[in-house]
């Protein structure tokens, strides 16, 4: 109700804007579940060496294809490797792929989008048509093509997933830059003598961070999925490095008799994606500065 908005709210306790976002996010139980999942995943990834009971590459052919038991709580795969340990080390790869691939996409896409939106005209046209070309190729095909050219491997996997996600971020950033640069505070900044770069960094980018962060959180989920998919078809992480998608792929031959080999990596992927998705949704609501209470 807009009528009630004009109130004397100046004597509220001081909070930084990040603090405010956090306060609003805390009220959202689902988003907090997401935060919890992500934090647990991060802790697992960081302390993998201490948590994992076995080495991820340690083969023990005598105890291959064992069902979950006390000594191997998630069972073992066809080489007798402990699935629980592999999942734990795999979280490192998956999270790294998620963060770095999205990082590449956000930075490059963000720069391209803000330049296109801010300057408009020919520059805008050129950048956005290039993005259209990228968009017109199905992302999985694009990644496959890039990986085929660069060769498989962790770094190349991240680059491939990152590049295929760039156009999405460029579009989002460009759209919000277009609406923000029409706001009077941008004109006000120009009136006091601010340079273009300062205006972009200080006024425009902070104001389009909200949609960007939401998209990045959701994008991380799809980057992990893409990476898993690429590893599944053998273009991503090479054995014996444990990657959830590669583990899924490795277990697919045994799915009838030993379903747990595919079940647990699948569950790990699903949980992480779920966590990132609900966090993304929660962030979208929490980041709007005008949306009080």
């Amino acid at each position: 109700m807009s009528e009630s908005k004009v109130s004397n709210k100046s004597n509220v306790k001081r909070q930084t804007q990040l603090g405010e976002v956090w306060t609003r996010l805390k009220k959202n139980k689902l988003a907090m579940t997401g935060v919890l999942i992500i934090i647990i995943m991060a802790i697992i990834a960081i302390f993998a060496d201490f948590i994992a009971p076995y080495d991820y590459a340690e083969q023990n052919l005598s105890s291959s294809l064992q069902f979950p038991s006390k000594s191997h709580i998630f069972g073992t795969d066809e080489f007798g490797r402990d699935i629980f340990s592999r999942l734990i080390f795999g979280s490192r790869i998956s999270l790294a792929v998620g963060f770095i691939a999205v990082g590449i996409a956000v930075i490059i896409g963000g720069i391209l989008g803000s330049v296109a939106g801010f300057y408009g005209g020919v520059i805008d046209n050129f950048i956005m048509r290039c993005m259209d070309v990228l968009l017109s190729i199905p992302p999985i095909l694009l990644s496959i093509a890039i990986l085929a050219a660069l060769g498989p491997g962790l770094m190349n996997l991240m680059i491939a997933t990152g590049i295929s996600a760039i156009p999405g971020y460029a579009r989002i950033v460009r759209a919000s830059v277009l609406s923000i640069k029409e706001q009077e505070f941008v004109e006000a900044a120009r009136a006091v003598g601010s340079t273009d770069i300062r205006i972009i960094i200080k006024h425009i980018i902070p104001n389009c961070l909200a949609p960007l962060m939401v998209q990045a959180t959701l994008g991380m989920a799809s980057a992990i999925l893409t990476a898993a998919g690429l590893s599944f078809i053998g273009l991503g992480i090479q054995p014996p490095t444990p990657e959830w998608g590669a583990m899924l792929s490795g277990g697919r031959g045994f799915i009838r008799d030993y379903p747990y080999i595919t079940f647990f990596p699948g569950l790990a992927i699903a949980m992480t994606i779920f966590g990132l998705n609900v966090l993304g949704d929660g962030l979208r609501d929490a980041l709007d500065p005008k949306l009080k209470n």
Binding site: M1, E3, S4, V6, S7, N8, K9, K292, N293
Partner: protein, 322 residues
């Protein structure tokens, strides 16, 4: 009471909104009367509760977060708040119609204006589509738009023209009461003059009563018979127009008049009301205006003032006149 004489009579209306654990006292114990064929100017600042009151009369308070806590709204002697949803639907538009502030957004952009008027007629009258369209064209001409424009879409009209369409929709079913919520605020002065002139003449022609919600005391002076001054969810002064303009009683009303630059007089400094409108989630005790009032008495911070009739048809809620 004189419910028979009055078309609309609001008693003790209290409307609250719940936002994040706080209760917004949007309308607080409001009393108001409106006679047949009268035009009431409903004046107040942003957040005073003018629009909420109007929505309360129409039965359109969004629930949640809004809730009518208490009160009665008598329209033609019947309490609207006791009506069922279905009954209210047949009253809305037919008996009580609304004109909205922003003609840019209150019309449907993908429907031509003739259809929009005809739709309103067809909801309330059992007539064929052709008949309704014919009637819509007559309505367009009544508000000064050529009838051959009835197939045009809202974006093909200027702001003033759109507001005329809004008026045509409101008048289409010949309602007894029109609630106009800041109908000219979005318009330029010369266009505002046109629209006000139109509203004045149509009101006489159709003999409808009208509640005109506005923040502009100038507009009220031009077309209203009665004035209610609203502050923090309450009517603080209610009177015949002349009596109020010649002899404003409530300190808030006085402050309002003095805040407006006078075209005929030159002053260096405007007299203003100090401070800001109160936080509706935390209204001051006693008279809600006392923290800003230049004439506040000790009693003002303790008790709520009652409605006092100072002159015939001139009521004020202020301890200065007890």
């Amino acid at each position: 009471m004189n419910d028979q004489k009055n078309l609309l009579s609001i008693k003790n209306l209290t409307i609250h909104y719940k936002t994040g654990g706080n209760i917004v006292h949007a309308v607080d114990n409001l009393d108001l009367d409106l006679g047949h064929g009268e035009t009431l100017g409903f004046v107040g600042e942003t957040g005073a509760g003018k629009t909420t009151t109007a929505l309360g009369i129409m039965g359109l308070i969004p629930n949640p977060p809004g809730k009518i806590i208490n009160g009665q709204v008598f329209f033609k002697g019947e309490d609207l708040l006791k009506k069922k949803h279905k009954e209210m639907r047949s009253i809305r538009g037919k008996e009580i119609a609304m004109i909205f502030q922003d003609p840019m957004t209150s019309l449907d952009p993908v429907m031509n204006v003739g259809d929009q008027i005809a739709e309103m007629i067809r909801i309330h009258e059992q007539i064929t589509k052709d008949k309704a369209l014919e009637k819509a064209e007559v309505m367009l001409e009544t508000v000064g738009i050529r009838k051959d424009r009835s197939k045009d879409y809202p974006h093909q009209f200027s702001g003033g023209m759109k507001q005329r369409v809004g008026i045509a929709i409101a008048l289409a079913c010949n309602p007894k009461l029109i609630i106009a919520d800041e109908p000219t605020t979005a318009l330029d002065v010369t266009i505002q003059a046109q629209v006000l002139e139109l509203m004045k003449s149509l009101k006489e022609k159709y003999d409808t009563s009208m509640i005109l919600i506005t923040h502009d005391l100038g507009i009220v002076a031009e077309i209203c018979d009665k004035v209610a001054i609203m502050y923090a969810g309450n009517v603080v002064e209610y009177s015949d127009k002349n009596s109020l303009y010649l002899n404003p009683l409530h300190p808030y009303t006085n402050g309002l008049f003095q805040s407006i630059p006078d075209i005929e007089k030159d002053v260096d400094k405007l007299n203003t009301i100090k401070g800001l409108a109160p936080d509706p989630t935390n209204l001051p005790k006693g008279c809600t205006f006392h923290p800003r009032c230049p004439k506040a008495l000790p009693v003002c911070s303790e008790k709520k003032p009652d409605n006092v009739m100072v002159e015939p048809n001139h009521y004020v809620k202020c301890f200065l006149y007890n």
